[in-house]
């Protein structure tokens, strides 16, 4: 049951599109910056299969320039 947070950088001028794209995906919470071209993305997936699917969808987003991981938590890691 992993939880991750990322800094998502939109392609030039595409912040709003990126926010909409990310918000449309399941298991995603989006926190846009109100003064810079950066978006915080928090993902919370119930299992690995869903996580893999989500990763694929993220990779396919046209509005996304780069994604850098800021925080990762996985129940299995901690037991």
């Amino acid at each position: 049951m992993p939880i991750f947070s990322y800094l998502a950088m939109p392609k030039s001028g595409a912040k709003e599109v990126l926010c909409a794209d990310l918000a449309a995906l399941s298991n995603c919470e989006v926190i846009p910056s109100d003064n810079q071209e950066v978006v915080v993305l928090v993902t919370d997936t119930p299992d690995e299969t869903t996580e893999d699917k989500l990763q694929k969808s993220l990779n396919n987003l046209q509005s996304l320039q780069s994604l850098s991981l800021a925080f990762g938590y996985d129940d299995q890691e901690k037991q």
Binding site: P32, V40, F71
Partner: protein, 772 residues
Amino acid sequence: MKLNRRRFLKYAAASSAVATAGALFPGVSFGNWQNLTNNSGIISWQKAPCRFCGTGCGVLVGVSDGRAVAVKGDPNCSVNKGLCCMKGYHSVQMLYGKDRITTAKVRKNGEMVEVPIKEALDLVAEKLQETKDKHGKDSVAIYGSGQWTIPDGYVASKLFKGCLGTNNVEANARLCMASAVTGFMTSFGIDEPMGCYEDMDHANVFITWGNNMAEMHPVLFSRMLANRKRRTNVTVIDFATRSTRTSQAADKSILFRPQTDLAVANAICYEIIKNDWVNWNFVNEHVSFHKGKTNIGYGTEDHFAFKDKAESINFEEYKLFLEDYTPEKVEKISGVSARDIKYMAALYGDPSLKVTSFWCMGMNQHTRGTWINNLVYNIHLLVGKISTPGNSPFSLTGQPSACGTVREVGTLTHKLPHGVVMKEHHREMAAEIWDVPVSNIDPKPTYHTVEMFRALDRGDIKFIWIQVTNPMVTMPNLRRYRDGALKDGRFVVVSDVYPTPTTDVADVILPAALWVEQEGMFGNSERRTQHFAEIVKPPGEAMSDTWQIIEVAKRLGFEKQFPWTQDDYIGKIWEEYRKFHAGPKHEMASYKVLKERSGVQWPFVNGKETRWRFNPKYDPACTNGKEFDFYGKKDNRAWIWARPYEPAAESPDSEYNFWLNTGRVIEHWHTGSMTRRIPVLHNAVPSSYVELNPEDAAELGVVNGEMVKIISRRGEVTMPAQIKGRGVPPRGMVFVPFFDESYLINEVTLDAFCPISKQADYKKCAVRLEKA
């Protein structure tokens, strides 16, 4: 409960990303984010300094069900004002790695066997006593760290120097800060920076001298960038030997050839004098001129000894000395254009600009480390830009308590908590506070770090206790010292939290409490002492390093000197230690005050912290009635030193034609024994690599990820290439991060050191490359 916990974790994840964004984009705001002001009902937050770098960020550790589950920047801490870097944010996860050492182990018939910690401590005491009786007091040693808490270092020094009578006490800060100390001592007669982080809010020009702050001191770096964004007149110059994230963010990046910072610093002084930018009022009142010995060697041979001798010179002699360092001459040595040298000199020389110089390992891990520290002070002293807000030559520390524990407690062979073993009145003071006969304290220093491990190899030291550090990854010319530690007749005790190459050579492993699993204090780069409570319980039989030493001391019969109980020992130790620093030059805050605040700067006099030393507006120790009082030196002046450029111990030649430079990356702490167990950090940079210049890589025929063999006169290591990664070395240089024990780059490095500070140079040796 489960839902709450999950909600909390998502909050922690978001807050981490928001903080990371804050570090990358100064002034960024996330108006829609509902910062959880308190907690979700399952959390308590308690203050602590971050476990990692010498910045000393204040953090709040979130605890749920007795487990540390989250970290956030402490908004009440003036260091970071709520920010954190990725290491700080993820730090609690280091407490819970699967292979945490929770029980003691001793070597029996060649195998490490688990035993109750009491039995292991009995064995440590017995072996220590037996070795001392058989081979003399100087056959036993303790080697600690700038990650020792202040009480750890204090009881180590008290036991070994005060009770056992040996000066065989050293710490890894010798390898990271010793040149800064000798720089301060020779220029000012007293250790540690005169300024504080607030300088960043006043300076117009920042010059980073061989200091990749963006990765090594990221929170300070973002504070600097935030200032640049907020104020229109701020310039950042990165002066370095390779391009890094700091160079990318700077307004100007100037590259110099390794070791030639000495020549450039002198050229800047030459220009300042030539253009009459000297602040004569300041120089005439507060500065004196000196020279020392030259051709001072490199310490690569056993028993190397050197003692500098200061001679007074006058300004004219100093000016004559600088004739060798015209910008045009220095351009040829350093590769820095005369124009750039003049540009930097003009920034330092412009009376309307406030200038802060930052440095860390680039200047300290240098075979002329003391000299380059002196030379940067020379620049600031000639123009009088010192000890006032924004005008600051600022030596940053690498470790969280290199200042607090090693420099202030004095856990180095020649030091005592106040002063040095060589001085009778310092020994008398220590003997009185420690309640030991003064004759116990030996007036002769023994071994500095490199020589201590040489002594272990030679067999002069037969018992060594290593705490909170991993020398079997970090010693330069490593193979000699690892082979030495494994020789017959050596007894090695290691206190640590995870298995490392150092626990691999141990005869006894003691499970140590980590960070907030114990009470303690750290001291950061800006003279700030930071207390933390035991926030969570240590696992299994893990015990604080302080208490391990106390247990052994009691077994050796020193109950009188170590009378404390586990309930109150930290407070009692602090109040005893604080007596060493009584007086306006170094007064420390009481235990009670430290517990209440998120860090207190010393000198702490009449309830007030001292932000700028040597300036009577801020520093109560100033008594001369003048604008500044450099009271560390007997002549009440700061010293300018004529120090020449001398080459590195080993430079590239036709056989070994590359410079090897080593260092760190933002994700990992030192040898990675903690950060490599934090999944996010480990996944970000899972293994080390060698950075190559793209043209050198093309010539060698390697592409990203292909294996390269790095060979020196001492050893070789084969590792993947990184080309156009986060750092780009110039042609003829490679850079390797040392965090990864699978690639022991220190088998390749050279154990040459600064003859004055005895700090090793990890930034320069000669290697050749082969495509593997």
